[in-house]
């Protein structure tokens, strides 16, 4: 078997391993990785400060035939013997791949090695920065490029007063011109971050337990607690230099377009490679190199297709994008200091071909513009620059997803073959699966391909559920008949009626069976119980947080016994009683209500349960009182009607026994407070919830959940779970955070008020029924024979409990390898 050694396990190295094992699994691969952990997503490194864990950033996966040696740095390459050495081992190779990446550049400055001075490159760097920042208040970032702004954001998240020091005359000088850099500076200063350009540090010294940095500007120095160098990276080519492989003048291992170095058995990929002398600091070209070498090792002839250096980022909440050429024969610009936007397009001398451009503050046209580079200008310049409606079609050859090199033609092909939404396009074409910046473009192409995504609730309303919600909220309409007369057609159906009933209930319009609302409720809501296959109902009293007294347990047992109900423990930490006849429901609930139970809303699109682990009171590991929090949350949101059911859980520590990340909103205790996760669910397509907030106190937690729920209820589609809703938000989780944490839309006050109204108006629905003779009337099998139960309902006994007759015989007994117990009676 041929031996392949890879030095370095970063993003590009990992992509290469995946590609090579897929194309030619016969290689025996050894990876030497200096870092103590396998490959992780360095592009999202800053998310670490947002509470995303190192595990979540990991890109590691088990690959067949690949041995990854963590924490073992290659120290020498002996090309004559074709062997790589480390401090502890020797690894012979037939082919060798350098994927060593870059290191953070630190200028030769006095004091650069003092404690409190860091670089911004690895998870360990970030851990050290976080530890040092604890209890301190000021930080300086040297470098106002991409990385510097990321680092500044990190310091801001750590609660430090932050100062950026940039040597160039403006920010992001490699991507932006002076005007663009100026607008960006305006945005960043508004966030309370200091920006000094044309300034370079000259010396760092320790003064009274803090740091002082002098600069090249007279009298300007900074007293600070922490300094981060984020002034660029350099290729890690020392190992290659030492073994005599050719390197470039400004560093980097020289390769040809096949990624081969001056030694044909040695390749270099990613940031360490100087392809025909050019180093690429982005991940997309690195991925392309990984594919090239994997193909070559499988006997192919692939060459590097050229790199798209376009970038689009959200830095400190500001959109910045650059695509194609930075300069050209003609350029046209638009500057709006009032709104903080800047756009520049670079054009051919006849102004027909788009060569490149940059956008600051609003990058909405980016996907279209980037895909159009090298082709016709896709619309009127005024619209493209000023954010107007853009019309214009892309040529088929235009690349829509540059991360995965997917063209418009390929996407249109997938649409014609039956892809109907963004998720399907992602699966079929891989477009949109890396940075996601082309997703708006994918939506546009779906529309262009004739895929109409109608948001209309049903044939009676052309509006979406969210639009109906707004109409009801703004007009104050309280009846379905008024709503459909004014805004719809026909007499309604089983889709729009429950949807409107839910909207009316979310906006706190009294008991759901009051007046005309009764006619809108789905059958389960109408009888406040879940209809089962034989027309009987199941009954689920609320057990907040899953905590219940022995006395209440006994009441449930007594009720189940008296009314001959089948009982089962549910997944939501409560007890379900099945087989209740419609005329027995009020009697059952009279007993339950008298014992202090309330409706569990198992029948409604509403909050179901908030599960909990046992928390600090009993558990050896718990760090917060998860049971108390779960009970508080369940009581706060009980009865809240929503577009779909809502589930939650609270775990008392990171062991996550309550499975909170499988919930619509899940809470996990930390040493310092709570982490809030949103958008998870089990069901047909399980999804883990995403981290929205970390280490917050109880008050912030509850306020944020209030807003999350009310924003969801206000804007989601009918039967759209929170997971799909979060995914459907343009801008995703970041946008959600901006809306409900930073109040970007200015609606938080209203969301808070809506939730306050819900909490204030909550009343137990079942109590409302058993105290109301008019509502009780409908709980009969027959209107003309109220005392007669439905004679067609029959049960049979299985495993000591009752089941609907005729259902159990249809299912075969479950055959398990367990011993069969034979009764000796009667023999």
């Amino acid at each position: 078997m041929s031996k392949l050694v890879v030095i370095g396990d970063g993003m590009v190295g990992r992509r290469f391993l995946e590609a090579v094992t897929q194309r030619d699994p016969s290689w025996e691969v050894t990876v030497l990785c200096e870092e103590p952990r396998p490959a992780y997503d360095r592009v999202r490194l800053s998310a670490f400060f947002d509470g995303v864990s190192a595990e979540e950033l990991s890109l590691a996966s088990d690959l067949p035939g690949v041995e990854v040696r963590l924490g073992e740095a290659a120290t020498e390459v002996d090309r004559a013997a074709k062997v790589v050495r480390s401090a502890t081992g020797e690894y012979p190779y037939d082919k060798l791949v350098f994927a060593t990446g870059s290191y953070a550049f630190v200028p030769p400055m006095e004091g650069k090695d003092l404690p409190g001075v860091f670089v911004y490159r690895t998870i360990e760097d970030l851990e050290n920065i976080k530890a040092h920042a604890e209890g301190r208040r000021h930080g300086v970032v040297i470098g106002g490029g991409l990385l510097g702004l990321e680092a500044a954001n990190a310091l801001k998240l750590l609660g430090l007063e932050t100062q950026i020091v940039e040597f160039a005359p403006w920010l992001m000088a490699r991507q932006l011109d002076e005007a663009g850099g100026g607008i960006l500076k305006q945005h960043i200063e508004k966030l309370g971050i200091g920006v000094d350009c044309s300034t370079g540090g000259t010396k760092i010294e320790a003064v009274d337990g803090r740091l002082r940095m002098d600069t090249n500007r007279d009298g300007v120095s900074y007293d600070t607690d922490l300094i981060i160098f984020a002034a660029g990276v350099r290729p890690r080519d020392q190992l290659a230099r030492d073994c005599g492989i050719e390197v470039g003048e400004r560093g980097g291992i020289i390769t040809d377009l096949s990624c081969a170095t001056s030694d044909p058995d040695v390749y270099a990929i990613g940031e360490v490679a100087a392809m025909e002398g050019m180093c690429y600091g982005l991940v997309a070209p690195g991925y392309a190199m990984a594919e090239v070498v994997a193909d070559r090792l499988a006997g192919g002839e692939a060459t590097f297709p050229g790199a798209d250096m376009s970038t689009k980022l959200k830095l400190l909440g500001v959109d910045v994008a650059q695509f194609g050429a930075m300069e050209g024969p003609l350029s046209t610009t638009y500057l709006d200091p009032a709104h903080g936007t800047y756009a520049k397009l670079i054009l051919s001398d006849d102004a027909t071909t788009l060569l490149g451009g940059m956008l600051v503050g609003d990058a909405e046209p980016y996907p279209l513009l980037r895909a159009s580079v090298g082709g016709k200008v896709p619309g009127k310049l005024a619209d493209l620059l000023g954010g107007g409606e853009i019309e214009g079609a892309l040529p088929d050859g235009a690349q829509v997803c540059s991360c995965n090199a997917v063209t418009k033609g390929e996407i249109m092909g997938a649409i014609h073959e039956g892809c109907h939404d963004v998720a399907e396009l992602k699966t079929c074409t891989k477009a949109g699966t890396s940075c996601g910046s082309c997703i708006p473009m994918l939506k546009q192409l779906l529309a262009e391909g004739g895929v109409e995504v109608s948001k209309a609730v049903c044939e009676h309303f052309t509006q979406s559920r969210a639009e109906l919600f707004d109409i009801v909220k703004v007009t104050g309409i309280t009846t379905f008949s008024e709503l459909i007369t004014r805004y719809g057609t026909g007499s309604g159906c089983d889709l729009c009626k429950p949807a409107v009933a839910s909207i009316l209930a979310s906006l706190s319009n009294g008991h759901i069976l009051d007046g005309e609302q009764a006619a809108l409720q789905d059958t389960n809501d109408h009888f406040l119980a879940n209809m089962q296959r034989n027309g009987t109902y199941s009954v689920v009293p609320r057990i907040p947080g899953g905590e219940i007294t022995p006395d209440k347990l006994i009441v449930i047992g007594e009720v189940a016994k008296e009314f001959d109900l089948y009982t089962k423990i549910t997944g939501g930490q409560r007890i379900d009683m099945f087989g209740a006849r419609v005329e027995d429901l009020p009697k059952i609930w009279r007993k339950l209500v008298d014992a202090g139970f309330e409706s569990g809303h198992a029948y409604g699109k509403a909050l179901r349960t908030v599960k909990s682990c046992v928390g600090t009171d009993w558990c050896r590991y718990g760090v917060q009182d998860s049971v108390k929090m779960a009970i508080d949350l369940e009581l706060r949101y009980r009865g809240l009607r929503s577009p779909h059911k809502l589930k939650s859980a609270v775990s008392g520590c990171a062991r996550e026994c309550a499975e909170a990340r499988g919930k619509d909103f899940g809470i996990i205790a930390t040493e310092h407070g709570w982490n809030l996760y949103v958008g998870g669910n089990g069901g047909f397509t399980p999804r883990h919830a995403d981290l929205l907030l970390s280490d917050v106190d109880s008050e912030t937690l509850v306020r944020t959940i209030d807003r999350f729920l009310m924003f969801y209820i206000s804007t989601a589609d009918r039967l759209q779970r929170t997971s799909k809703w979060v995914e459907s938000l343009e801008g995703g989780l970041d946008y959600l955070r901006e809306v409900i944490v930073d109040d970007r839309l200015g609606i938080c006050g209203e969301l808070d008020a809506l939730m306050a109204k819900h909490v204030e108006n909550y009343a137990d629905e079942w109590k409302g029924v058993i105290d109301d003779p008019e509502k009780l009337q409908r709980f009969v099998s027959f209107v003309n024979a109220p005392e007669t139960p439905d004679p067609t309902i029959e049960f049979e006994e299985v495993r000591g409990q009752k089941f609907p007759a005729g259902t159990t015989e249809r299912s075969q007994p479950v055959l398990l390898g367990t011993p069969v117990l034979r009764s000796s009676q009667g023999k």
Binding site: H460, G490, S491, A518, H526
Partner: protein, 113 residues
């Protein structure tokens, strides 16, 4: 025709079940315009007597009731299932006399299915 109950007992937009003398069950619906319809109460797909608890509305103008179990829609005029035309509910004659709802004892639409 046999009497069932007071017309006012029915909530507009909902139905009730009634037990007929021959032991069969009928579902009677009052729509928002106060029109009345009566169909058999048994869900032909699941065999449970639950049609009276379904939501009513219209599909393309045709008044329908939707089974609460698996959500098939049935025409209230003809009983025919709009999702599977081979299946139908029985349709009963229904009238209001002196404020009392009365239902025909036998299905009049069965012959057509």
């Amino acid at each position: 025709m046999q009497p069932i109950c007071e017309f006012d007992r029915l909530v507009p937009g909902r139905g009730v079940a009634a037990l007929l003398a021959d032991g069969s069950q009928v579902a009677v619906f009052r729509l928002f315009d106060d029109s009345l319809y009566a169909v058999s109460n048994e869900d032909p797909f699941m065999g449970a007597n639950v049609i009276s608890r379904g939501l009513v509305g219209d599909r393309g103008g045709e008044p329908v009731v939707v089974s609460p179990l698996l959500k098939q829609a049935f025409s209230l005029k003809t009983g025919v299932c709009l999702d599977d035309e081979a299946v139908a509910l029985e349709v009963y004659a229904v009238e209001v006399v002196d404020g009392q709802i009365r239902v025909g004892a036998h299905s009049e639409a069965k012959a057509s299915t």
